[in-house]
Subunit: 664 residues, 2 copies
């Protein structure tokens, strides 16, 4: 009976676009739910969160606790993959209201005899509603009922029963929930596997991995390359498209309009006479070589991630078989990709406004499923913001139903709302603006937008200091120090990060022309030959960073990121912690690649469960050095020529005389 | 075909609780709509708001303009009472996209011959879609089509047609809207009459208006009192309950538990043998006297507002006729109102959890309708937060359907979320915390919450410096100056305000005991006799304030309120303006009742359409004095003993030599 429901529920969080999209979590996470719950008058309420996995029939219930200003909160754990549902309920708690009021009356020494009779009635109702109540409890309640009803009983005895914690404790175990208000909407949580939240990516072009310079690399060469990747500590190895490359309008070196004989073309110009998105470029090897690579990688703790670029070279089979999926020009030609005055003649975009969109969508879904069946579960999706946004919501939803462990990384560098919308539609992780955030102010404001606003609930950042498309200006000028700084920032600010190598660890830094952020002689258009054993390679530094990430739970989440004051604009200081504060990491980075800087950190100890004036130990996990720090203000000095970053592990308790064996 | 829709719409504003509740406006207002509208890729979009009155069949359309960061905006006018609906639409604009891209190509001197053919196709589509296009326009477009198709035509001629504004202007008049996305939810606007937004209330107890001291006042005495109210400039005269008052458990003077013979009781203890909520207290007069009062008041521009207090004295007919509407105690007695240890034995609350709730709701609705039929359209609802909140949503909705001109003022002084929820459920206006906001900080933060957050769209404040229940501590100690200050603040900060008189203008300031905010010898429990002709009455000051409000449109809205810096904590400075800035009021109040204060105002001229260094004239409407001010920083000094408030009318332009008759 809705008219009798007096409780109002509103402003339930987390919710994205009024519940249109799910919140994201990984297995084992807690979902913290908040809501305004209140009613008319001054009765006492109870409130709870109900939740269940989509595959369960019954709702679980967890009680909410009152915070402040009619705000209530509770949390529940999501213990398995897939979709979960939750919502909030509230009801007037007549027992609690009665209990509070009668105690007030006793306190004010006003008459309460009639209230005891009311109480007896309420307890009686619970007895009737819970016939399976434990015998000792029901006996106890029955006794109280008769005590309250017997006026002959002395006032003191009756008060004793009333104020006994036992009555309260038994009664709240058996709440009679009348006229319950359930919030009118149920919210969804997409629960993914832990790697959705903690992953270290390495991007490599297989064709450049041949031991013989000038020869086209193969999947078998990638197998040989795996120990190098594993030694550096990466767990996702991402390969640019492995499909046949078109010959028509193929681009030459440095993106020149006409390819020379022998130029391999861009792997993103997908499709040739050997096939399209379900085929393998013959020079890389066979399907068997590919599945062998997946297996061998898995043996070393590495997952292979594929590139999924939904566009076609003029030679792609779709062009002949499904001309209706492309835009035609009045002169009969197909419309290549362009963003005037730029032209991409080697690529035809798919037309998502085609009347045959349903077949197009199904075909693209079948591409994903084809590779999933080969064992690929991680996809880096190329330029998703140039394909219909709703299409992504649909296809990721469909694929997640069959493969809830699939991970999709959106390679969208576009306007903020479009990037966020793609995340809402279901992308697991997203590229970010990190590549262009270099100053303390820019890094702080951007990261705080990611972790302190509602963005945290749907957008998982993946920080890349470089990609084959982006050689940031900062890396062009900042030398070795700048490369270390950027990879350390990426690896500690975000629990998901990646580099494009070996260009990164070998510190490639020459742009195609001054003022551009494209690589000179980009691997996108030619084979490279890398000397990974160069003595000045950053492989050891990167290996240390990844080891620190693996050994410290604090770095395996992004949400706990907090920035701390440090009185020097060149230094940035921030911390991360694990749930329960078992592991705390405090990082300080010198953002100036040229000069030594020092400053005083303000580390708010109380937020980390320490007394403001206590002593504590920090160990710099990069150098191994230990320091004993005192109180909230501590001094650091960083010479970037030695190492531009401190990654301190904070040990909260230091020993004192009390720990000395014979103290007691 | 949803799959072909590429435009995404989100974050539409204004919306309250995801569209669960309507936004509020008055007739003639603009509704400013904003939304994020964007799509994949880089096509040009068009977006619009569609809107209509609930009684209309067809939607109106207004184009949105692009603001920044994918945000679009538009506004529409609500020209009549009742419910309006609106939502947002967006689509890829193929003509605009083509037009932009081809101009870019011309600019970059790349080939665009094929693009002209594409353009011809787009124009042709418009011609087909709009067969009723004006002949000169369709002729013009046809000519362009043939021009674009004729390759023989010289490039220059074709470019001229292309870049001509005429082509663009004609084409955007006939937009071919394909694959339109319409936001999945429609939003409501409740449009009320102007008095919902601009009203000056005066509360008076009719029983105290007899010319003969000790005699019970009548409706006819109120008629005699009307010229006094009109002279002060009030337009709503609000009477406490006019129904029979219960005798059982009647309260005596100063809320004593036992009434003495002759004590009239509290008008809020409604119901006696003469009837309940549809009856009139016999000592006040007859129904005819009451309807006569309504008419006479209307003749002087005053509307009568009734009190609606849904509670019953023990003698109310409902107690006998509908015992199921009340809570019963096990001893057979009815549960009176209490908030332990406080007791209100003269009042029985209605039990909104009754199983007979439907009949209860209908009966209460019939009470409102009864009085509406007598001509009452404004109701001050007593303690709505002690009745089921959903009940208010229902009853106000039902009543508004029949009487869209009805106004409901919620007398809820309770926790913020409950007060806001009542407003969301439909109350036209609400009492506020103004009575307890005395300092610059408190007034500023509270008013900014009301006008700068989403609260502005559903909660219309009504500021009261006093009520029969509240004699604020500040008024108890601040003397005449304090009374003037508080009424001036109320009348200028909020476009809806009211006072409880004659207690206010006669500056009654003695509390029932020190530390309490109840009046001594409160009119709630006894007859009073007021000497409204006391020479020190504030009636003239109040009359001037109301005159200023009537003559200045800026003060007839609350939303335009802006606070301005002034470098003295005792001075508060704020402005209001009319739409279009035709009328600008700048107020400065000295909040210290004891000392003269001075300070420099920072009045941001550019926000008000003036140059930062211009001269302008201000006239203090309280004193009549004129000042010529220069630039943004101007000096004020206020001696509170003379008048604690300046209410400046800002005249933006002052005369210069250019205005001199013979200048030219």
């Amino acid at each position: 009976m809705k008219g009798q429901q007096r409780v109002i529920i509103e402003n339930v969080k987390p919710q994205i676009n009024c519940g249109e999209f799910p919140v994201k979590r990984v297995v084992g996470d807690k979902v913290e739910v908040e809501a305004d719950v209140y009613s008319d008058s001054h009765d006492v309420l109870s409130a709870g969160v109900i939740y269940k996995h989509a595959g369960e029939r019954e709702w679980h219930h967890v009680e909410m606790t009152y915070d402040i200003n009619d705000r209530w909160e509770a949390q529940f754990k999501v213990s398995r993959l897939g979709t979960w549902h939750f919502t909030v309920r509230g009801w007037i708690d007549h027992f609690k209201s009665w209990h509070r009021d009668v105690l007030k009356k006793i306190d004010a020494q006003t008459d309460y005899a009639s209230d005891l009779l009311v109480g007896a009635g309420i307890i009686h109702k619970s007895l009737a509603a819970f016939p399976d109540m434990a015998v000792e409890e029901s006996d106890f309640l029955r006794e109280i009922v008769s005590e309250f009803s017997r006026e002959s009983q002395s006032a003191e005895t009756r008060i004793d029963s009333l104020v006994s914690n036992t009555l309260y404790e038994v009664m709240i175990k058996y709440p009679v929930k009348e006229h319950v208000t359930t919030f009118h909407k149920t919210f969804e949580v997409t629960v993914e596997r832990p790697r959705a939240n903690f992953s270290s990516w390495y991007e490599v072009f297989p064709r450049s991995l041949s031991p013989v310079e000038g020869q086209h690399g193969t999947f078998n060469d990638v197998v040989e390359f795996l120990p190098y990747v594993a030694e550096m500590g990466f767990d996702v190895l991402y390969l640019p498209p492995i499909h046949p490359i078109g010959k028509t309008k193929r681009k030459g070196k440095n993106n020149s309009v006409t390819a020379q004989p022998g130029d391999p073309g861009s792997p993103w110009a997908i499709g040739g006479e050997e096939g399209g998105h379900k085929a393998i470029h013959p020079e890389l090897g066979t399907m068997k070589d590919f599945t062998n690579l997946i297996e061998k990688a898995a043996g070393q703790g590495i997952e292979i991630a594929m590139d999924m670029a939904f566009q076609c070279s003029p030679d792609h089979p779709y062009v002949r078989e499904h001309p209706e999926w492309f835009r035609h020009r009045p002169d009969g030609s197909l419309q290549y990709a362009e963003n005037p005055p730029k032209k991409y003649e080697d690529i035809y975009p798919l037309n998502f406004e085609t009347d045959d969109w349903q077949n197009l969508w199904e075909e693209l879904k079948s591409v994903f499923l084809f590779w999933m069946e080969k064992g690929v579960k991680i996809f880096r999706v190329d330029n998703p913001h140039t394909k219909s946004i709703r299409f992504w919501g649909w296809i990721i939803g469909e694929l997640k139903q069959l493969h809830p462990d699939a991970i999709f990384l959106a390679e969208a560098f576009t306007r903020p709302k479009v990037m966020y919308q793609l995340a809402k539609q279901g992308f697991t992780q997203s590229y970010t603006y990190f590549s262009w955030r270099n100053t303390k102010y820019d890094l702080t404001t951007y990261c705080e937008e990611l972790v302190k606003t509602e963005v945290r609930d749907f957008f998982r950042p993946n920080f890349w200091p470089n990609t084959p498309d982006i050689l940031p200006e900062y890396l062009q000028v900042s030398q070795r120090t700048g490369f270390i700084q950027r990879v350390a920032l990426a690896a500690t600010l975000s629990s998901n990060y990646g580099i494009y190598g070996p260009a990164f660890e070998l510190m490639e830094n020459v742009p195609v022309e001054p003022g551009k952020e494209e690589y000179l002689n980009s691997e996108k258009y030619e084979l490279k030959h890398w000397d990974i054993n160069q003595p000045n390679s950053l492989r050891k530094v990167i290996a240390r960073l990844n080891k620190i990430r693996k050994e410290n739970k604090a770095l395996q989440n992004t949400h706990s990121l907090k920035f701390h004051d440090i009185n020097n604009e060149a230094l940035i200081c921030y911390s991360k912690s694990s749930p329960g504060l078992d592991n705390i990491i405090l990082a300080v980075v010198n953002l100036d690649p040229h000069h030594t800087h020092s400053g005083w950190i303000n580390f708010p100890l109380q937020q980390f469960g320490m007394e403001p004036h206590s002593s504590f130990q920090v160990q710099d996990l990069m150098s191994g050095a230990f320091y004993l720090w005192n109180g909230e203000h501590n001094f650091v000095e960083i010479d970037p020529g030695i190492m531009p970053v401190h990654i301190f592990k904070v040990r909260r308790k230091v020993r004192s005389e009390r720990d000395f064996d014979y103290f007691m």
